[in-house]
Subunit: 359 residues, 2 copies
């Protein structure tokens, strides 16, 4: 029995196809795959990724690492330049007692702080490199200097990493991958000059297909498991690969428009400057969510569905939509509902076990 709308529905067969395809792609190129689990926050999905050859998981927070460690993950990378205060040092130390764990670092000051706070607990670090996204990370030429500071602070330096987030731009995917390859190669050289053999970790879902396997040793895509409207619009997935939608009920209807009972509290409010709306409909590629509030999405389309019917919305950014749900509702082959047989699909649910673990 499915829950009331709005809820997130997952097509299991599409998820598995996405997991298999990217695992095969990475294996063919000799790249380690360490998928970002912040997208799904789901132990069920992590298990599927690990079963298909992922070397471990990427997470964004210590709290996410704790959840996945509790559910059997054994190799976790917190791909974030944490400020390791005493509280986080204690939790990282606990994790280090039961899994292989690494964190990001991007300044000599943060490396010194982490070294002091961790006091020898076996937590590796990777130096974050800014390869063009201009969020966090050091310039490639500085990576060696940060690695040296980390070594001086008593930390074990595993390698370098980046998030080429400027791949989230029309026609930006290949260029972001090229920027990443050049910058990470330079950063890795700086670390090799210290006598180390670094992991070189990059990759985002939009840039993934363009990744340079001669520069990288590891990739960390996240969104590829589900896809979303952003990936669809960037050309990083097809509509047929989108494996998660938000089921919502039509509560209002007029010429050329309708309103459903899912808003920013179900879909998230993400909207990139280049996005064509606040979300889309899987079953009507011309339709757009043109207005979004907490519990309303206003959709413009040529043929509004009847009041009371259910539609499948594609969130702009699936990571934030998942983070708003306690469970994902999973069916083997999800499909648009036949109003005469709306309840005939078989559903199971997966816990979004790391929902809200933002610290």
């Amino acid at each position: 029995m499915r829950p009331p709308t709005p809820f997130l529905s997952v097509d299991r067969s599409r998820v598995e196809a996405n997991v298999r395809r990217v695992a095969g792609w990475a294996a063919d190129r000799g790249l380690a795959l360490r998928p970002h689990a912040k997208t799904h926050k789901s132990p069920d999905l992590a298990a599927m990724q690990l079963a298909h050859g992922a070397v471990g998981l990427t997470v964004a927070t210590v709290g996410e690492a704790e959840v996945f460690a509790d559910h059997g993950a054994t190799d976790l990378f917190v791909a974030y330049p944490l400020w390791v205060d005493a509280e986080r040092a204690g939790r990282l130390g606990d994790l280090a007692g039961r899994v292989r764990i690494a964190i990001g670092v991007e300044s000599p000051e943060a490396a010194a702080q982490a070294g002091r706070a961790l006091a020898g607990r076996p937590v590796d670090v990777l130096v974050e490199v800014d390869t063009g996204h201009h969020r966090t990370g050091v310039a490639a030429a500085e990576a060696g200097r940060v690695a040296e500071a980390a070594l001086r602070a008593g930390l074990s330096v595993r390698g370098v990493f980046s998030f080429p987030g400027h791949s989230y731009a029309p026609q930006g995917r290949a260029a972001a991958a090229r920027d990443e390859a050049v910058a990470l190669a330079e950063a890795a050289a700086g670390v090799r000059a210290l006598g180390l053999d670094p992991v070189v970790s990059g990759g985002s879902t939009p840039s993934l297909a363009h990744s340079d396997a001669s520069a990288l040793t590891e990739v960390r895509p996240g969104v590829y498991v589900f896809g979303d409207a952003q990936q669809w619009e960037l050309g990083a997935c097809t509509a047929d690969e989108i494996a998660l939608t938000c089921r919502a009920t039509v509560v209002s209807r007029g010429p050329g428009r309708f309103v459903v009972d899912a808003g920013s509290k179900a879909l998230g409010a993400d909207r990139a400057p280049w996005a064509t709306g606040f979300g889309r409909l899987l079953d009507d590629p011309e339709a757009r969510v043109v207005q979004l509030s907490e519990h309303h999405a206003v959709v413009e389309c040529s043929s509004p569905p009847p009041l009371g019917s259910t539609v499948r919305l594609v969130p702009n950014h699936v990571c934030n939509a998942v983070n708003l749900a306690d469970r994902l509702w999973v069916t083997e082959h999800d499909r648009a509902e036949d109003p005469r047989a709306a309840q005939d699909q078989q559903w199971v649910s997966w816990a979004v076990a790391a929902r809200g673990r933002k610290a």
Copy 2:
């Protein structure tokens, strides 16, 4: 002991001042106050509002109504044009057995559906009127026709309501209140023509001060309890009235900018076209969040704080920030942290009991 960053911190004395001020304002004008609990989702805060004279609570979903009924609320209005299917009819019927409950309706079709599904269970309806926001609701002239359909469907019609959401615009607050007064007066006349004595319910936080007490009988502001960057920028609250911030740690720092460990998964991603950023700093009114991702906010300001220090971010839209938290961390007089005494505030926590209850 406070939790690790990012977390939502609440200044209890400011919340109480906001609750008292608006309760007094409504009482002075003879308006019933039915605050929207979707903002705080907190039984502790609802109890404070009710203790200061609120006649009941507004909620957005049946799930929120269930949570507040479980915590002692006795009069609840789901201010949303629900499509009442069998599942929701059953839950509304259960609620009607223990609290006074009403829902919104905006079409003859939805009224007929609700009448059939509820089958006599005592759930009142209020007709939603579009007073200029153009989301849901009927034109004022149609309200009588929808009320008549509801009566024919066996429903008890309590009144008319609107959300003047076009008050969320620079210089739009007073005009939205005027639009609302005119439209709701016309809609109420249509309902009075059926021999009823309607509740006339309106109001949003930005338009509240301009509400026309001769046209309305009830107001339903929500955000006023906390304030947020949107209200600050609209002039609907002062910085001194902002009672909720997101505490976040500086993880990266450069000339004129820094990055903290709170992103869209802590603050929400809301950004109105007129907003000056993705959020602000309470203690530096010139600073702006210029870039937001899931776990990063990039802040531009003239004097970046030190790495590892804690700042107080003001979310753009507090309702969505609260919906991302399991608990609110409450202190009597919140203040910028003194790095030499960061832990000297006393904290309690309030459960965000209706978090995620979007159905």
